[in-house]
């Protein structure tokens, strides 16, 4: 088909236009503090990929020796705190993975329970609707009061966000899709573990996995938000760089650092999504 051949071409054209348009705006505007030129972004990326040598070890001349050097308050703060892009991304990724590892089973279990048992659905659904409505990031301070300054108040909102989003697709998968097969299976005498392992779980599977991608996106969003509010590491901290608590949002930020951070986050999110998509395709091969 012609459209198939067109695809990579149009994709590349569009990406090139995106970059060119950005370069034109940056050079016309001449405001590196608002729209930093691409070279600044590359410089910033380089400066933040590795930690600078410890203080005193590198004399200032060596620093100057680099050609054009893009520098800003935010880069300096980050370097002083020895924050690097790979380390920040790594920590955020670990938090997201923890949120998925704990939140997904939790959400899926609640979804299965509510989907399979009419009684559980009647009692739990109203409570679930209330709980789900609380924005995860709004919980941070309350959790902090209970558990103190620790990793917990960053991880719990992520787990909470993942679990509440995983419930709904699982619930509908079991209640709407699997229920059709359940009647047939039961009338043939299947029950207990056989019913679950051969009928209910496989039938609900595609719906459960369909929600996975959304859970991943929300986990990243919550992780970054939690780190922006209260953390001294991770991508959220990288983006708002330095300072403490809410006051850090007042510090002058450098768009080049933020753009580098956003590109890194988008790449990480895309990679995780690609893995989820592949896993989904493999696990639901039998559907076709």
């Amino acid at each position: 088909m012609r459209a198939v051949a067109q695809r990579p071409l149009l994709w590349i054209v569009s990406l090139a236009t995106l970059i060119a348009a950005y370069a034109v705006v940056a050079s016309v505007l001449q405001r590196p503090d608002v729209i930093p030129p691409a070279s600044d972004i590359v410089e910033t990326f380089r400066a933040l990929v590795a930690a600078p040598p410890p203080e005193g070890a590198a004399p200032m001349e060596g620093h100057e020796g680099h050609h054009h050097h893009h520098s800003s308050d935010q880069i300096e703060t980050l370097q002083q705190e020895r924050v690097t892009l790979p380390a920040s991304l790594g920590i955020s990724t670990l938090r997201v993975l923890f949120g998925l590892a704990v939140g997904l089973p939790l959400g899926i279990l609640i979804g299965l329970w509510m989907g399979a048992s009419r009684r559980a659905d009647d009692y739990l659904h109203p409570i679930f609707v209330l709980v789900r409505s609380i924005p995860p990031l709004a919980l941070i301070t309350y959790i902090m009061l209970w558990l103190g300054h620790s990793e917990a108040h960053r991880l719990i909102p992520i787990v909470y966000a993942v679990a509440t989003t995983a419930v709904i697709p699982t619930y509908h998968g079991v209640r709407d899709v699997a229920a059709k097969y359940e009647v047939a299976a039961r009338s043939l005498g299947a029950h207990g573990s056989l019913l679950w392992s051969k009928v209910l779980l496989p039938a609900a599977g595609p719906a459960v996995l369909g929600g996975l991608r959304y859970s991943i996106a929300l986990a990243w969003m919550t992780a970054v938000g939690a780190e922006m509010l209260m953390a001294d590491d991770g991508m959220g901290n990288f983006l708002v760089g330095g300072g403490m608590w809410a006051s850090r949002l007042q510090t002058r930020s450098d768009p080049a650092v933020i753009i580098v951070g956003i590109l890194a986050l988008a790449a990480a999110g895309w990679a995780m999504d690609a893995v989820a998509r592949l896993a989904t395709a493999r696990l639901t091969r039998w559907v076709r």
Partner: protein, 268 residues
Amino acid sequence: MPKVRLRRALVALLALIAIYGIAAEIGRGRLPDRIWMGSHYVENVQLLPTFGALAEEGTFLLESRILAESIVASSRRVLIGVLLGSLIGILLGLGTGWAMRFEHLADPWVTLFRFTPALALLPLYVAWFGYGETSKVLLIATGVAVVALLGAHQGVRGVPRAYLDAAASLGAGKRLVFRRIVLPLALPAILASLRIAIALAWVTIVVAELIDAKMPSLGYLLALSGAYPRVPQMLIALATLAALVLVFDFAVLLLHARATRWMKRTAS
């Protein structure tokens, strides 16, 4: 709703309230009330405020009109952001779903925004648009637009090929097909994505309202209650946020019911 379900829902909610009330009474005097805030201790913190304390704080927030004004200010931001974002997102999504070429053209941009957590854009928007209202509304609009775009795209793609072919063979032009077939069939997916987008918008506003934090705003009310800390106020702010999410969600559901009235439904 059948009677049994209604009764069970009431039992569950009442049980929740009762359990909280009992826990708060037991906790009073037993839970630690001296909290380490990272740099200093705060005395007299009620981790689980009793209903009495909550009512007292609620009366204060209501009588001082703080709560009402905060609700109006935050809802306004969310509403403008959602309207703006969904308008842009739905238009783009209909476009990418309908025209293959446009989809390929838009793909790199969509991919970039789709995998960027909306909150990461906050510092960038502050640098571009300043600390004012624009940054907050645009941040919400961006997050909403991405979700609405994907919803509208999937909605258009979900239209069965047979419908399009049938309409075409009967001589319907492209515009007619789009208006009478594609749009109505894509609507449920669009509205479903709006429900997700609205929940996302309320998550965003909690953080967005911390920049240039000023008082009527629910996000700042929550942050202030965390800074003192003043737990009854915090819990009331949390409950208000949850209630607003429910109200907005309900509004979309109503819209959904109205917009899909023409569809035949089996009684369920």
